[in-house]
């Protein structure tokens, strides 16, 4: 029996967290749920405790990369075979969870990414978002020779190989695209599956105009310099 951990990183998600937990329990009852609370200042931590899920808490806000990595470390040290990231803002449909882990269970790959754009999932994107994602798709294609329609998607699942890699190194901000490329460099296989995503259910997106620009520059720089780093 595979042990599965759903990692939900949260920072002030009191409006949506309960629904997300309920959705995961319904769609993937055999999985444990770990909420990693990244220094929320609202009642997010209390909601997680009321729901009786596993909880890890950062004493202060550290950002999404460090938060996910805390979850990866927990999964690795506690012997989980599969870890899944489901955001706490409700944009990832838990109904897609079984199909997200299927390629892992069948041993086809090490990292599965839920893509908004593989099928007509009815996800409405702004023009700028589409442009940004196109940009990152090309980046992934240039550096890996593989196609990824939605490399910025945080809705993903990985096996122990992926866990091991990401608990050793994981970018501290905007980690998604870099993680795909570094996984590919270490010989891990990734695959995309079509998933539905909602627009966020509450809260505000962490990405504004200026940070979008920083996102692109930072990731490109980080990946380019990474090429000159020796792999362990």
């Amino acid at each position: 029996m595979m042990r599965i951990l759903v990692i939900t990183p949260v920072f002030n998600e009191e409006e949506t967290l309960r629904g997300v937990i309920l959705g995961i329990r319904t769609s993937l009852p055999q999985a444990d749920i770990l909420v990693v609370n990244d220094g929320s200042t609202d009642s997010t931590g209390n909601i997680a405790r009321e729901e009786g899920v596993l909880i890890l808490e950062h004493p202060y806000n550290m950002g999404i990369g460090a938060t996910m990595q805390t979850g990866f470390l927990y999964a690795l040290r506690n012997g989980y075979d599969i870890a899944i990231q489901v955001d706490g803002d409700g944009q990832h449909h838990p109904e897609s969870l079984p199909s997200l882990i299927k390629p892992l269970l069948e041993g086809h790959c090490n990292l599965v990414i839920g893509s908004r754009y593989l099928s007509d999932g009815g996800f409405k994107s702004t023009f700028l978002r589409k442009l940004g994602i196109k940009f990152f798709s090309s980046v992934v294609w240039i550096f890996t020779g593989k196609r990824a329609t939605d490399p910025t998607s945080g809705f993903r699942a990985m096996d122990r190989k992926g866990l091991k890699l990401f608990s050793e190194e994981y970018p501290s901000d905007y980690p998604e695209v870099e993680a795909v490329i570094s996984a590919n460099r270490k010989g891990l296989h990734f695959q995309e599956i079509p998933t539905m995503m909602r627009d966020r259910q509450g809260g505000t997106s962490s990405i504004g105009m200026l940070s979008a620009l920083y996102y692109m520059v930072k990731v490109t720089l980080s990946i380019s310099i990474g090429l000159f780093r020796r792999t362990k």
Binding site: V36, L54, I55, L56, E57, H58, P59, Y60, M62, A66, Q69, T70, L73, Y74, R77, S172
Partner: protein, 124 residues
């Protein structure tokens, strides 16, 4: 350079050195990071006592005015210091991240242990 300016420069460099030493004495500044500042203060003092040295270096490197050489090396020194500080900050940020993660994991472990400890145990 006038004797008065010379005197001011000497007073300035001696004050700088004293401030650095006092910071180290109060442990506001680690010995490790103070060395470079003590060196800088020492060079200022040396230059203000023997201006001849600055003139010679400036002539040798081809600066038209000695003060240009002083500004050039001063700015170069500051850039290197700031770059070094950025490296130190990055290293601290990385360590801080690892520490935060370990604290989070340990807090959970302690909570779990406490819970299993408080459950009624017939063997005790």
């Amino acid at each position: 350079m006038s004797a008065r300016l010379n005197l001011f420069a000497m007073i300035g460099s001696i004050s700088l050195l004293l401030i650095i030493l006092e910071l180290v004495r109060r442990k506001y500044l680690r010995e490790r990071y103070s060395l470079i500042w003590i060196m800088a203060g020492g060079i200022f003092l040396l230059l203000s006592i023997r201006l001849e040295i600055l003139r010679r270096i400036s002539d040798f490197l081809g600066f038209s005015v000695p003060s240009n050489a002083l500004f050039f090396f001063g700015i170069l020194f500051l850039v290197l210091i700031v770059l070094g500080l950025s490296v130190i900050t990055s290293r601290l940020a990385e360590k801080n991240k690892v520490l935060t993660q370990e604290v989070a994991l340990l807090k959970k472990q302690v909570a779990d242990l406490e819970k299993s400890h408080n459950e009624p145990n017939p063997h005790r």
